[in-house]
């Protein structure tokens, strides 16, 4: 029972950064933009979030909040770069995303070495600690599994219905969905396609930044080079598996979170299985899921195609 509790709890914790990035990517892909750069945006968020918390450590409990804010901001700024090349210059989104990820890998590592040298990040950086929701955390089983986490976990799962409501029950959400299907059609009724896409990319970048900030600031404050280790790419797979729907994406994120949780558990058990197989698991899962469950017809029709208003 205790093991089950722990697995469920760590599933939620593992799913949180994936879900943050995936929710942003759902919006961006619904608007027709495939943003591979979220891996890099997450990494930027993770690094600058931690660095900020490190430098504002005297502010005690405010420091991680400022860190998280800066994490989102650095995701946003990185996404701004994506916007310049993908929307303004109408370059290929896959190549731009790859470039941005490379840039983030290089920049964070150069700065990491500059700031922390060979010693690694110190342990006394303020971070988001586990909080136990009053009353709720007292419920047997559920209390430990669902209601004792750091604050970002709760906020992230609260975001799912918000995004759902936005996409399906607001005028703007309707326009976002239309934008990914037939951008020209909505530009002829007076919407600004480039603006919609820009906002969606920026949103995705911010969310990826928060996801990265979670990695470096929640539960344990740490940054290591390339610490996202493909989580941004997994978020892409979650979007596809979740059929571009926020609630289904949430389910998919939980599945991958479970993958990470089991991985950690099995390692701790000291089972006679090499740890690399578990690290590989989420990526194999992605491949299996993509080849088994999703047809090509379900993606937004204009996904990945640069929009040229003069055509």
């Amino acid at each position: 029972m205790e093991l089950l509790e722990e697995i469920i709890a760590s599933t939620l914790r593992g799913a949180t950064p994936l879900l943050l990035a995936a929710l942003g990517e759902v919006i961006s892909q619904r608007a027709g933009v495939i943003n591979i750069g979220i891996e890099g945006m997450m990494l930027m968020g993770a690094f600058f979030g931690l660095v900020t918390s490190f430098y504002t450590a005297e502010l005690m409990i405010f420091a991680p909040w400022i860190g998280l804010f800066v994490a989102g901001l650095s995701g946003l700024i990185t996404a701004g770069l994506f916007v310049v090349f993908a929307i303004k210059l109408r370059g290929d989104q896959v190549v731009i995303g790859t470039a941005i990820t490379l840039l983030a890998l290089g920049l964070t590592e150069v700065l990491y070495q500059r700031i922390f040298g060979g010693t690694g990040t110190p342990h006394n950086i303020p971070y988001f600690e586990k909080i136990e929701l009053p009353l709720l955390s007292q419920i047997p089983f559920l209390g430990n599994t669902l209601f004792s986490h750091n604050i970002i976990v709760f906020l992230t799962f609260l975001l799912v219905p918000c995004i759902y409501f936005y996409l399906y029950h607001t005028q703007q959400g309707l326009r976002v969905r239309a934008c990914g299907e037939h951008p020209k059609a909505i530009s002829t009724v007076g919407s600004n396609v480039s603006l919609i896409r820009t906002m969606c990319i920026l949103f995705a970048g911010t969310m990826a930044g928060f996801g990265g900030g979670y990695l470096s600031l929640a539960d344990v404050p740490i940054f290591t080079p390339n610490m996202t280790a493909g989580r941004g790419f997994i978020a892409l797979a979650i979007v596809i598996f979740g059929k571009w729907h926020p609630v289904k994406a949430c389910a998919a994120a939980l599945l991958f979170g479970l993958g990470f949780a089991l991985d950690a558990r099995f390692q701790a058990f000291g089972w006679n299985v090499q740890y690399q197989w578990f690290l590989m698991l989420p990526f194999i899962l992605c491949l299996v899921v993509m080849s088994g469950f999703v047809g090509r017809s379900e993606a937004p029709l204009a996904l990945g195609k640069p929009y040229d208003p003069s055509e």
Partner: protein, 345 residues
Amino acid sequence: MQSTFNRLVITSALILSAAFLTNGFILVLCGYNPLQAYATGITGAFGSAHGLGETLVKSIPFLMTGLSVAIAFRCGIWNIGAEGQFLIGALAATWFGTKVAYLLPNISWVAIPLCMTIAILGGGIWGAIPGILKITRGVNEVISTIMLNYVALYFVSAMVDGGPLQEISRTGPQSDPIAKWVFLPRIFPSSRIHIGILIAILLAIILTFVLFRTSFGYQIRAVGEGASAAEASGISITLNTLRVFFLSGALAGLGGAIELMALAPQLTTTFSPGYGYTAIAVALLAKLNPLVTIASSLLFGALTMGSYAMQLNIGISNKVTWMMQAIILLFVIGSSSFHLITKRE
């Protein structure tokens, strides 16, 4: 033809200057002196016979993976998986070099081609997996190749760190050295330059000929530039896509094997510093032309060599090359978004 070439040289020069400026600006923000850094880098890459030789040596994996990416992109295949294919090629060569080679007579001209063939098959099959997934299940190759990169990375790690290919003494996360007679010969006694460079350049020439002068190359380009028109004319999309996925993987795989057989007699868990990702910048800077890829891979070899010098002398992380590569890539996109990249698809 002359003017196309001139234009390519001029744009490339502009792209590089802009990239160096931008990168320098970022270095300033990071608290480094870019002039000092670049001077160190240039001296490191070109300042001595040794540096020059190492620059050439370092450009070989870029050329191999760059060719792999160029041929795939020409066919409209977004293969981001050269990294994984490179690793699998090296893994296959390691298996051959540490396990099979000892069963064979120690004759280099038998062992080396065999070892390369195994790596070509390994990389090719690894490269064909996303092709098969794309054709039969409609899986987008961008995502699947990225996923396969991670699978390959952990697979290599599983093999040499605790797995069957780990060194017999089980001390470090690496394999035993491959058999001596599988080593690639060096060209000069005093330098690490090896015959891999000749193989890579020869392949670049052959691929250029294949792309622009043969029926197969014509079909590859037709599928890449206008799939539905090609299909209507009787060119098989499925067949060509699969062939190019394999070819692209094989080139990267061979690249991994060459790297292993010439320089590192052992496979480690950190064997590739991201050659497969850099390859995208290498190929795009060369406008997907295999011959021009020779030049762009030299540039990236020099960048790598320069970054080592910077790390050694100034203490800048050598990952500064990634930053530089990304900036070059972004400027390539910026300069060509009006003609090259938007025209595809």
